[in-house]
């Protein structure tokens, strides 16, 4: 049974938008997406599913909500896409309200279930198809839609204006230079080796992370730069709201910034979905074979500079730590081994999660879920009890989260379930443990 509290959540982005929708428009949009925007995969997936329910235990929402069958991945498809197909798009607004709730707030498209389906059915893709339909109908949770609107207007997720952006970088440069004299954040340096890109919440609310990375780049003598204009934000919530047109514009701006600067490669901060958008979904939508230059995730970059000895580690973190495997860089990039190498290099007492690697549970925040905002927070917390138990079992005091969504999501989990641990990005651990050139510490 759907949780009555969740079903009663009021979200203007869904409820108000549904009021103006005619059944003809709903039918047209659904049929357009089902016939014009999807082809073999959708058909094969719908034909192949034998309704065996073996995907159920892949899903953290199913496990967290006492094995409620309505939260099994297959049930989420049944309650959304199967009905749309069966009724040939003839669904009412009540149905769409439920479909939007399921697709946006009860599935994070983490793709764990496609590893549990014996046929490899990409269930997350089916849910994303539902999101696409909702987005074309304008039925998207308000907070999530706001991030998409921000992308459309400012090319970044959080309405950061260009003067704010440059000002924040200069402020962080000053702060970092206090610790490491002579440090710079080079803007618009053509021909640099690396363009570094971040997600908009960094300049908006976590600016310290930019200073951290500047110190790391400085310590290893990297030739790097950041763009002063549009394209600096690598996040892409439009990918998750289903507004693929805006998603494509954002990724194009991001890669064009790199090409304008003629950099050799892009290094990105600790974020998962941004990797997915920049490397997979964005280029695919734009009709590119792949990104024009290499995208290096922060975890890969840290691995390179630590394993090659470029970054010297002066001391190790003593508290017990564990790590969250972010879906988009582990199931999406296979970085789990490098991630553990880095953590073991920085920490004395690493305690792994069970299950781990590609099989680690989703954080229930990524995939746009946390971006659906406060109205859905309680639902999100109910959906992720299994992660709270998993973290508690490790006995760790620090949960390392090399992804912004995992970071915020697990912070919420720790608060809600009183776990008494705290979350850290890897860059925060590196700053605490590295040798800082020219500073008093060395």
């Amino acid at each position: 049974m759907a949780d009555p509290v969740d079903a009663a959540v009021v979200d203007q982005g869904i409820d108000d938008r549904l009021k103006g929708l005619s059944t003809e428009r709903i039918r047209d949009v659904i049929n357009r997406v089902l016939t014009k925007e999807s082809a073999a995969r959708l058909k094969v997936y719908l034909d192949t599913c034998v309704h065996c329910g073996l995907c159920s235990e892949a899903c953290h929402t199913y496990l967290s909500r006492d094995r409620d069958p309505d939260f099994a991945p297959v049930a989420k498809v049944k309650d959304t896409l199967w009905e749309m197909v069966r009724r040939k798009g003839d669904v009412d607004t009540e149905f769409l309200k439920k479909a939007a709730r399921i697709a946006f707030t009860e599935c994070g498209a983490c793709r764990r279930c496609s590893m549990y389906c014996p046929f490899g059915i990409d269930i997350a893709y089916l849910i994303m198809t539902v999101r696409r339909i909702c987005s074309l109908l304008g039925v998207v949770p308000q907070y999530l839609q706001d991030t998409t609107n921000s992308h459309a207007v400012t090319m970044n997720q959080m309405w950061v204006q260009q003067d704010d952006w440059i000002d924040t970088l200069m402020w962080q440069e000053e702060d970092a230079a206090d610790e490491i004299p002579g440090l710079r954040i080079p803007l618009d340096k053509e021909g640099a080796d690396i363009m570094y890109s971040v997600i908009a919440p960094e300049p908006k609310i976590l600016a310290q992370l930019i200073a951290n990375m500047a110190m790391i780049f400085h310590a290893v003598g990297a030739d790097w730069t950041m763009p002063s204009g549009d394209g600096w934000d690598n996040s892409n919530m439009a990918m998750y709201s289903g507004d693929f047109e805006v998603m494509g514009r954002v990724e194009k701006a991001h890669w064009e910034a790199a090409m304008d600067l003629r950099v050799k490669r892009m290094v990105m901060g600790e974020c998962g979905h941004a990797y997915r958008g920049a490397v997979y979904d964005g280029p695919k939508w734009l009709g590119w074979q792949g990104p024009p230059i290499t995208m290096v995730h922060a975890v890969e970059y840290y691995y390179d500079i630590i394993s090659s000895g470029k970054l010297k580690i002066a001391r190790k973190i003593e508290e017990p730590v564990t790590v969250q495997d972010p879906c988009n860089i582990v199931r999406g990039r296979g970085l789990h081994k490098k991630l553990r190498y880095v953590i073991n290099a920085l920490c004395e007492d690493f305690r792994d999660m069970e299950p781990r690697y590609e099989h680690n549970y989703c954080c229930a925040a990524g995939g746009g879920i946390i971006n659906c905002g406060p109205p859905w927070k309680l639902s999100r917390m109910k959906s992720i009890k299994v992660k709270a138990e998993q973290i508690a079992d490790t006995g760790a005091e620090i949960v390392v989260t090399p992804c912004h969504n995992c970071h915020s999501g697990i912070e919420d989990i720790i608060g809600h379930y009183n776990l008494g641990t705290h979350v850290q990005f890897i860059s925060e651990l590196i700053i605490k443990t590295m040798e800082k050139p020219g500073s008093e510490q060395t």
Binding site: A39, A40, R41, K43, V44, Y45, D47, T48, C49, V50, H51, C52, G53, L54, S56, E57, A58, Y62, R67, P69, D70, A72, V74, A75, K78, S114, M115, Y116, P118, F119, G120, I121, D122, Y280, K284, G287, Q289, V330, R331, G332, R333, G334, L335, P355, E358, H359
Partner: protein
């Protein structure tokens, strides 16, 4: 009646089964060309790697999590495919109609394998009714399909044991077998056709694009 069942009816069944399967495969190939990512992503090495982890019992985590389901599924599917191909009665028909000599199973082995299929049917039928996460997504169609799958095995077994008048039960066996064949391309029994494609596509995407494992 017997002549019709063993003549035109069987022809219709094979035409619909083979023709339907080819039609489905071809139309899907055309549709696959419309997708930007499907054909360029396909990769033999990673596709096979994934298929192997799912056709070998207990090679994937989900199979290890459900040991009973895994054992029943593998044994059921093996018997389901091998028995009709190699049961002696069918081998005789191949010989009579086409002059093809065929390996055939000893009668006792075919009997046991048929009983395994029937036992597997009961397992799946009850599982669909009892397990909440399965019952929730099943409709009457799923149960009917299971009945279509098992019917030729029950009728075949009864015919072989000669518990009922042979001339009647053999027609029931042929008719249910015909239904079984026709259902393959047009229902979720087509997972027989699609398994290799969907699994190897997902394996390719995980392996060659995402550098990760999907088992």
């Amino acid at each position: 009646m017997y002549e019709f069942a063993t003549g035109p009816l069987v022809w219709i069944a094979f035409i619909l089964f083979v023709g339907g399967s080819i039609y489905k495969l071809m139309s899907m190939l055309i549709l696959a060309q419309k997708e930007k990512s499907v054909l360029p992503t396909w990769n033999a090495k990673f596709g096979l790697r994934s298929v192997m982890h799912w056709v070998v019992p207990f090679a994937s985590r989900n199979q290890r999590m459900h040991p009973v389901m895994t054992v029943v599924s593998f044994v059921f599917h093996l018997c389901l495919l091998i028995t009709p191909l190699f049961v002696m009665g069918h081998a005789v028909l191949w010989k009579q109609s086409w002059g093809i000599r065929w390996f055939s199973l000893p009668a006792w082995a075919a009997d046991i394998m048929t009983l395994v299929v029937i036992g597997g049917f009961f397992f799946f039928f009850v599982r669909r009714m009892v397990a909440p996460e399965v019952r929730n997504v099943n409709t009457w169609k799923d149960y009917v399909l299971l009945l279509i799958v098992v019917a030729p095995f029950i009728t075949g077994f009864v015919a072989h044991q000669q518990w009922l008048p042979y001339s009647t039960i053999i027609i029931a066996h042929i008719v249910t077998g015909v239904l079984w064949l026709i259902a393959i391309p047009f229902t979720w029994l087509s997972h027989m056709l699609w398994f290799f494609f969907s699994r190897s596509y997902m394996g390719s995407e995980f392996g060659s694009v995402r550098n990760a494992r999907d088992w």
